[in-house]
């Protein structure tokens, strides 16, 4: 039921966001059409941080309670976080090529997103190396906690060097009314899409867990 609600709401919001981005919102004066990627780039970035934050919170919850459901949420959220981080990097590169002239620079925000991406890929690789379920959840939670703590420190340590990444304009009235509205709708649409994916992924994890439990039970009975 919740999946269907998220699907319906996410679908409608996505269509509205696309109409806003490509038809309603005015073209930015200096950058031109390429600036429209901003309405996609910023929402995925916010939601990527949010999803790793969720992983962090539910990793702590798992270690405290040992309820496998919390690990399913942490894992699902991290998976969507990786998808979003990949999209941050890709949309950022597509924007950077015409504006900066290069696909990539080792700028603070770019580097910290990239490192974040690597940390959570390691999270999944390490999980896949552990066959025993309980240990996989436990170690996953530990990496989920330590990985999330590293992200802000990377950002701060590179921040000491001058950055060329555009500053966040949303908090200092730098955005035109329609642009702000478009951005907020895009963020909200992406937020609902995040929940949709997490719900789907969570059900996947739970089903896989239940199948594994049934297999174990059958094996025991047949012995």
């Amino acid at each position: 039921m919740r999946t269907k609600i998220a699907l319906a709401l996410g679908g409608v919001l996505m269509v509205v966001a696309l109409v806003m981005v490509f038809i309603v919102v005015p073209t930015e004066a200096t950058m031109g059409n390429i600036q429209r990627i901003f309405y996609f780039h910023v929402p995925v970035a916010w939601n990527a941080f949010f999803s790793f934050g969720v992983t962090f919170g539910f990793s702590i919850a798992y270690l405290k309670t040992r309820n496998p459901k919390y690990d399913f949420i942490a894992e699902s959220s991290a998976r969507i976080g990786i998808v979003f981080t990949t999209l941050i990097l890709l949309t950022g590169m597509i924007w950077a090529k015409p504006i900066w002239g290069v696909w990539w620079t080792w700028d603070a925000r770019l580097t910290s997103s990239f490192v974040m991406w690597l940390v959570y890929i390691a999270y999944f690789i390490v999980r896949s190396f552990i066959t025993e379920e309980e240990r996989r959840y436990r170690f996953g939670s530990i990496i989920g906690i330590l990985g999330f703590l590293s992200v802000p420190i990377v950002a701060i340590s590179i921040q000491l060097a001058p950055t060329t990444h555009p500053k966040a304009m949303i908090f200092n009235d730098g955005l035109h009314g329609t642009m702000l509205a478009t951005l907020l709708i895009s963020i909200f649409a992406m937020f609902v899409v995040y929940f949709l994916f997490v719900f789907l992924q969570y059900d996947n994890c739970k089903d896989a867990y239940e199948i594994a439990q049934l297999k174990k039970k059958l094996l025991k009975e047949s012995e």
């Binding site: 190396f129 330590l146 703590l149 701060i156």
Partner: protein, 224 residues
């Protein structure tokens, strides 16, 4: 508190004694670290000015790679003959075990650094053997080791063992490497303490966060 430190020192002493008797790891890690510098020489044959610019980076690549090699070994001996079970059944907190392991590996890294820094200074004729750079290295090694130990304990309990430590450890210590390299470069370029204060603050913050949090969650790594 007193028993905590006593236990931690006892574990560190055990690790060091074990290493002193076999000398297996220290000799290969030292050789590996020096070999890294040799490879660097062939990879970047450059003039003195360029060498001064890249020397801190070379040092930290050598420390990171040899650190991975030695940190990987921090828990492998405990896996043999159920030593880990023996260690865990000691009437001391898990925090003391973490602290002891960190101390042991910290001393180990200090030995590696004590060899690599002067060798680098001699081979490449750069002034890295300098009190400020040694201070930066010491400060950065604390965070380096405390992250390494928790991931080392985690990786020996996985199927792939040696593979797991570098992929977890390297991305997390990125801030340490950035700050240590940038501040050492600033010193080599004639900077003063004022110039590198911000980098040192980040290293200290990293040390504090990545020592206390692993100390708190180490017990979840070694339980079974």
């Amino acid at each position: 508190m007193k028993t905590f430190w006593k236990a931690a020192f006892a574990i560190a002493k055990k690790d060091i004694l074990l290493e002193l008797r076999s000398k297996e790891i220290i000799s290969s890690v030292l050789l590996f670290a020096v070999l890294t510098l040799v490879i660097f020489h062939f990879a970047f044959t450059a003039d003195h000015e360029t060498m001064t610019q890249i020397a801190p980076g070379m040092l930290w690549v050598a420390f990171s790679f040899s650190g991975i090699l030695s940190l990987n070994r921090a828990f492998i001996p405990e896996k043999e003959d159920n030593c880990m079970e023996g260690l865990l059944s000691c009437p001391v907190g898990r925090e003391a075990i973490y602290m002891g392991k960190c101390l042991g590996s910290f001393i180990f890294m200090l030995i590696v650094e004590a060899v690599v820094i002067p060798v680098c200074a001699m081979l490449f004729n750069v002034d890295v053997f300098n009190p400020m750079i040694i201070f930066i290295t010491l400060l950065a090694t604390i965070g380096f080791v405390s992250v390494g130990i928790i991931f080392s304990a985690l990786s020996v309990n996985t199927r792939a063992r040696e593979m797991v430590l570098p992929i977890l450890f390297l991305p997390i210590i990125v801030p340490i490497i950035i700050c240590a390299v940038s501040s050492s470069s600033a010193i080599l370029a004639g900077g003063t303490f004022e110039d590198i204060k911000q980098f040192l603050l980040i290293i200290v913050a990293f040390d504090v966060i990545f020592f206390t949090v692993p100390l708190m969650i180490f017990k979840y790594v070694v339980e079974e």
